[in-house]
């Protein structure tokens, strides 16, 4: 359920990395993230997606404007712990994120830092590992897991501190197809359970599942809207270096050939349903 409550409130945000002659990476971004939504950030390389993601939990602080998480300003250092508890980050390469010797310790790491009582930690690890099918790996060192399993451990260790929002920066780009499926179905489950998910991706197929898509181009929000609206702007997407998912591309090519197929066939199942109708 998407609530009409803003969890993250990005107001007039600009950003430049230090030592780059103030080269503007993000330029006057205004964007709200609503509780319970799945927001997908798309954009060509260098458009500022990863930077925007890192501004959402105070990993980076804007050079202009404000980012508010539940009303707390990420520029206020005294709020940072509270903000990081609310917004968890998962990165591209799980190897860069996993720090502990065993999966169980990995899941405990964040909670330990926040001073959770040991019984509570044990309880949560049990629940989480059952839900994310990690029980059999708890006494494994993370390096013995597959990429998809590692990424699920990374997600679980962030979830352990029960953030409201999970921000993921291309979490599937280094995974094999099975690993990718694991992570994507985990994200779908999280959204079902009421979590807010912000997903940065280059994979248009992953963007289909979004409630809203934000397209960044040269540091500006060039589009905010539904997947349907987004994919109807094929020419523009191409112009900025993006594409539409293969099922939608098939529909586009058929329409180009003068066949009146619907615009909203985004999955194999949509196509099968459409083609099986009398």
């Amino acid at each position: 359920m998407i609530e009409n409550r803003k969890v993250i409130n990005i107001q007039g945000v600009s950003f430049s990395y230090p030592g780059t002659n103030n080269r503007i990476v993000l330029d006057n971004i205004n964007l709200d993230v609503y509780a319970g939504e799945m927001l997908v950030l798309l954009g060509p390389n260098g458009s500022g997606k990863s930077t925007l993601a890192r501004l959402m939990n105070g990993l980076l602080v804007p050079t202009g404007g404000q980012v508010l998480v539940d009303g707390l300003d990420t520029a206020d250092e005294t709020s940072l712990w509270q903000i990081r508890k609310q917004v968890g980050m998962v990165f591209q390469n799980p190897d860069n994120q996993l720090v502990a010797a065993l999966v169980e310790e990995e899941l405990a790491f964040g909670m330990e830092n926040l001073g959770f009582p040991p019984e509570e930690m044990k309880k949560r690890i049990k629940e989480l590992s059952a839900r994310m099918q990690l029980e059999e790996f708890l006494d494994f060192p993370p390096h013995r897991l597959s990429g998809g399993q590692k990424q699920r451990v990374a997600i679980a260790s962030v979830l352990a501190i029960e953030p409201q929002v999970l921000v993921l920066d291309e979490p599937t780009s280094m995974l094999d197809p099975a690993g990718r499926r694991e992570v994507l179905s985990e994200l779908a489950r999280l959204k079902q359970s009421g979590k807010t998910v912000v997903l940065v991706t280059h994979d248009m197929t992953e963007a289909v599942a979004a409630d809203r898509i934000v397209v960044l181009e040269q540091g500006k929000t060039a589009f905010v809207g539904s997947p349907r609206e987004c994919f109807s702007r094929v020419d523009w997407l191409r112009e900025i270096g993006l594409e539409i998912p293969p099922p939608a591309e098939l529909a586009r090519r058929l329409r180009e050939r003068g066949l009146a197929v619907p615009e909203t066939l985004y999955h194999v199942t949509d196509w099968v349903e459409y083609l099986c109708q009398k």
């Binding site: 390389n45 597959s146 197809p177 280059h202 270096g241 083609l275």
Partner: protein, 286 residues
């Protein structure tokens, strides 16, 4: 046709003779001909990278390995292989190190002992091929965007004019356009200059679109080999190995299961043709 890669009964074990022994490749035979575009797919840990490292002369196993006519059991041959084989691992831009783009691309050709004029020619040609203009020649590689950096790193390999290209997920992290441009470049090299390409990828759309032949690795063995059409028509077998198929193959399989008369398809143009035929057949469109 001449064989550029010829591997017979190759086995590779990590830490052999110890309790931690792991067999990365088991009795693998693998041949790549001149001008061929070969894809290798397989789940993580199936031995794809190990096979690529053997072909690059970086690893040795048991069995016969001949690359560009060189016997790889000979240490000297292995050591000299960098002159003939272009290897692009994941995120090659992390290996850029020179002060300018030009010097970085020139590093390999200089080490080949080429004349200065030839080095200049190769660097310019390579940078042109990856679509980087003169305006970046004297920039630090670190001033470039992510996509440009990737292309600069690729130019460094092309400037070596390798006899074969070994690519490990070369487009990971690139946007759709960057991905298409880079893959077009490899396809062109393969088609026009007959440079064989061995591509390791998880991107089944690319594999279906580009490859002449596909080898499927599973637990260190070649589990299947064939044209993309042959391989991707076995969607269920691939799924059981933790792999997937391109959209067009998924669609044809799903439609066939519903009893609709469509042929096996693997690429989008095939899907356009088949679905159009189906729509006309059903009288859904005029």
């Amino acid at each position: 046709m001449s064989k550029i890669v010829e591997i017979k009964n190759l086995s590779v074990s990590y830490m052999p003779g110890t309790p931690l022994q792991r067999d990365a490749l088991r009795d693998v035979s693998f041949v790549v001909e001149k001008g061929e575009f070969r894809a290798i797919i397989g789940p993580q840990g199936s031995g794809k990278s190990t096979l690529l490292q053997v072909m690059a002369g970086l690893l040795q196993g048991e069995g016969r390995v001949t690359i560009c006519g060189q016997d790889m059991s000979n240490k000297k041959n292995r050591a000299g292989l960098w002159r003939r084989v272009g290897v692009i691992f994941q995120y090659p831009e992390r290996q850029l190190f020179e002060d300018t783009v030009f010097n970085d691309v020139a590093y390999g050709p200089i080490n080949l002992g080429l004349s200065e004029a030839e080095v200049q020619r190769r660097v310019k040609t390579a940078l042109q091929e990856v679509n980087l203009g003169e305006e970046v020649y004297h920039l630090s590689p670190f001033k470039l965007s992510g996509g440009q950096r990737r292309r600069a790193a690729v130019a460094g390999i092309l400037a070596m004019e390798p006899e074969v290209l070994l690519l490990d997920e070369p487009t990971a992290g690139l946007d759709p356009r960057g991905k298409r441009q880079l893959m077009d470049l490899f396809s062109n090299l393969c088609r026009k200059q007959q440079v064989p390409v061995v591509l390791v990828s998880h991107d089944m759309e690319e594999v279906a679109h580009r490859a002449d032949l596909v080898s499927v690795l599973y637990r260190g063995k070649i589990a299947m080999e064939g044209t993309p059409k042959e391989i991707f028509s076995r969607g269920k077998d691939l799924a059981s190995l933790g792999l997937s198929t391109p959209f067009a193959s998924q669609l044809s399989m799903a439609l066939q299961e519903k009893g609709l008369p469509v042929q096996n398809m693997t690429t989008l143009p095939e899907a356009v043709r088949e679905v159009e035929r189906l729509l006309r057949l059903k009288g859904k469109v005029q």
